[in-house]
Amino acid sequence: MKNIVIINYGYGNTYSLNSALSLLGYNALVTNKPDEICKADIIFLPGVGAFKQAMNAFLNLHMLEALNLALKRGSILIGICLGYQMLFEESEEFGVTKGLGLLKGKVVRLNHFNNINNRIPNVGWFPLINNLNNNKLEDKTVYFVHSYVPIVKEMNIISSFISYGNDLIHSSIDTGQIIGFQFHPEKSGKDGIKILSSILEG
């Protein structure tokens, strides 16, 4: 049985994510203890709220070292929504705040794209435009709620786009070891559950 943890640092819907994993038959540990994160095979970093407060809360719990150790051991890291944004170098939300820097790129406000017809926050269900050959995200429509989005520098890790006005925004990444979703798979009905299932089986 894989050792799965959901990092609990006060800024994520851990209850719903854990419920979705239970539905799939996985028993995840919701934790903020570095030693438990160290030992995990699969680490979920959920997130909702403001980038700066979330980063501070995360760093204050001294989990960064544990996360890096786990990644060195080959653990899989899955960032969701704000947790996805935190994987990058920095965010421009309320001034510039440093992120975890695991991936190259920065997080920008959606008005960067200058689409007058789109609301901020961007809330709703969008069909994913699959960008990798692994089919995990093919024909999936998922739920987004966000005001910021990463601009990913390494184009070859972008696993999906969604169309936002005339632009395509970077809705997910997959490096093989690090996976990130701007959307909420745990709130995306059957399609979201299938996506979670394909990661955990893969």
Partner: protein, 251 residues
Amino acid sequence: MINKNIRIIARLDMKGENVVKGINLEGIRPIGNPKSIAEKYYLDGIDEIIYMDVVASLYGRNSLSSYMKEAASNIFVPLTVGGGIRNLDDIKVALDSGADKVAINSEAIKNLSFIKEASEEVGSQAIVLSIEAKKQKDGTWEAYYDNGRERSGKNVCDWAEEVETLGAGEILLTSVDKEGLKNGMDIDLLDSIRGKLNIPIIMSGGVGSIKDIINVADKADGVAIASVLHYKNLTINDIKSELRDNHIMVR
């Protein structure tokens, strides 16, 4: 041209342990058990569920947490809970129990700084400002609270703009005049505020047919429906397939 899906949202008015439904937010009748009703709507393809506690009966007790947890254990679409959210603790209890958003009305009217504090604490995306609008003799709309019973003295358009500035992430706009009647939504109300806001608007009150949804689809970001689902006049599948036939995008 609408290039995104409109959200079809089930609104469950709650009293104690039951889903209820009224007319003009009054004269409520019991509909049934929230767990079985919400799970059915989820399996039928609803995009989102709003639980609105019409008598604020669940707060100050542990039941808010337990019924949200029960819902979030089996329903994997966004869940909003409102009616009696009074402080940051209420919000945290709801979000920690699996809710994604809270809907706030009365407390925002009584305490202007509440929306700002709440959105700074948990993020704008979790804060839905609920407005209960009643048309006045001069043709404007006034915001009411306590389930359409109390007047705030606030003009709905001005209030909506103000709460957007304060950090609300969405507006749930309920027409008290149309609510429960199943004879169409208040399109004039929606028109009067649509151009002034950048945040999404969920329109609520009056859906009796699919045409009522079609009529607001190019202006509202989401449509809340209740009676037609509760009384089984329409299924979610009926609604979505007919919207698609009318070139309106849905999930």
